[in-house]
């Protein structure tokens, strides 16, 4: 199965309700985007770093790893802004984005996927009145997570089948068979769903 980004290291933040964490995160990110002076933003970054560090060094390191995709981008912003002759605004963007992304990641790192899904189900309940049932949403989410490994193993099977019959490398040749076969699966699954009562029936995700 797929892995969520939730941290295995238990922290006090894991115990807080996801709804409270989400609200606190939104407010904090809003504040960070409203700040526009280097000292203020530096304080925001320092506070964020302190929160991470107070959860332990290992957790802080994990948080740093989540920021890695941002790193090269921030370097480029700094270089461009320095070349233009306005390094200060480059520093501001770097501090602001690091703080905002780190704060948002904090929720993701400390909230289990199940807790997130529970929250979504509760928030989505009113959508019943516009015709979107939370049950269909839950079923769709579960199906996506199940389809990903199915796709991958089907692709492997097709590659093996190709290799067993040809000395060429399986490249574009397997794309169409792969797509057709998963589309056929989709029809079967839809039929099976209907046979078990369908979306409006008694199915409990």
């Amino acid at each position: 199965m797929m892995l969520a980004l939730t941290s295995d290291i238990k922290t006090p933040l894991h115990a807080i309700r996801p709804s409270i964490k989400l609200a606190a995160m939104s407010i904090a990110v809003g504040i960070v985007f409203a700040l526009s002076s280097v000292p203020h933003l530096a304080i925001a970054v320092a506070i964020t770093a302190l929160i991470y560090l107070s959860m332990g060094l290992k957790f802080a390191r994990e948080g740093l790893r989540m920021l890695r995709p941002l790193r090269s981008f921030l370097v480029l912003v700094l270089v461009i802004q320095t070349l233009i002759g306005d390094p200060m605004s480059g520093v501001i963007v770097c501090l602001r984005l690091s703080a905002a992304v780190a704060i948002a990641n904090l929720v993701t790192l400390t909230t289990r996927l199940e807790a997130m899904i529970d929250l979504v189900m509760r928030l989505a309940a009113p959508l019943r009145f516009v015709g979107l049932s939370p049950r269909a949403l839950a079923l769709a989410m579960a199906m996506v997570l199940r389809f990903v490994p199915v796709f991958l193993s089907r692709a492997n099977t097709m590659q093996d089948a190709f290799r067993a019959r040809s000395i060429r490398r399986p490249t574009f040749y397997i794309v169409m068979p792969l797509i057709i076969s998963v589309l056929e699966d989709a029809d079967q699954i839809a039929l099976a769903l209907r046979a078990r009562g369908g979306l409006d029936g008694g199915y409990e995700p």
Binding site: M2, A4, L5, M25, V29, M66, P69, L70, S72, F73, L74, V75, L76, V77, I80, Q81, S89, V93, L97, A100, V101, A102, I103, A104, N105, V107, T108, T111, L113, M116, I117, V120, A136, L139, A140, M141, M143, V144, L145, F147, V148, V150, F151, L152, V175, M176, I179, I180, V182, L183, A186, D187, I189, A190, L191, L193, R194, G198, L199, D200
Partner: protein, 183 residues
């Protein structure tokens, strides 16, 4: 016949396809927007499912990313994505799929040409407008600078448009009942 269950499964299937294409190793670029196969999934979802269902598939995908699943190219995910410079592209996925599907459904041309034009408009024009807007809002950088950075991705995206047209054309022949945009 297109039942409610059918629609749900197809929407989930294409959300998963976008996730799978994200697993294909991305070529990282120094400016933070990696070249990925993921937008091929966005184009395919729109061109095959049509506007509403294609858009829905990508809403589902973005939703799962927000919940903390590492489904974006390069294993990114979580709420931090929505505070980072690539947010415009991520939020642009559903819009791009919707526009691709809407153009595909409305055009009377043969599936190959129609899906090529549709995925060019949706998967390149619309996606880039949203991506650049997000980039601009998140970094305060001059708009011109962001546009020149993005231009380096266009050749890769044109390849994806061609792939979409080939796949949709083949699908129209082999399994026309699955081409919901033309149902």
């Amino acid at each position: 016949m297109q039942t409610k269950e059918n629609t749900l499964v197809m929407v989930a299937l294409f959300a998963a396809l976008v996730a799978v294409l994200g697993l294909i190793p991305a070529i990282p670029m120094p400016w933070g927007v990696p070249i990925t196969a993921q937008s091929l999934g966005v184009m395919l979802a729109g061109a095959v499912l049509g506007g509403r269902k294609g858009g829905l598939a990508l809403v589902l995908f973005v939703f799962l990313v927000a919940l903390g699943l590492p489904l974006l190219a390069g294993g990114r995910g979580g709420l931090g994505v929505f505070a980072s410079p690539t947010v415009g592209f991520v939020l642009g996925f559903p819009v791009a799929a919707f526009v691709t599907g809407a153009v595909m459904s409305r055009s009377g041309m043969n599936p190959v040409l129609a899906s090529g034009i549709a995925s060019f408009i949706g998967g390149i024009v619309v996606l880039y407008v949203m991506g650049i807007a997000g980039f601009y809002l998140m970094t305060d950088k001059s708009l011109v600078a962001s546009i020149t950075i993005m231009a380096t991705y266009i050749p890769g995206d044109v390849v994806k448009v061609v792939l979409t047209a080939i796949i949709v054309g083949a699908l129209a022949k082999a399994r026309p009942q699955s081409l919901l945009s033309r149902a």
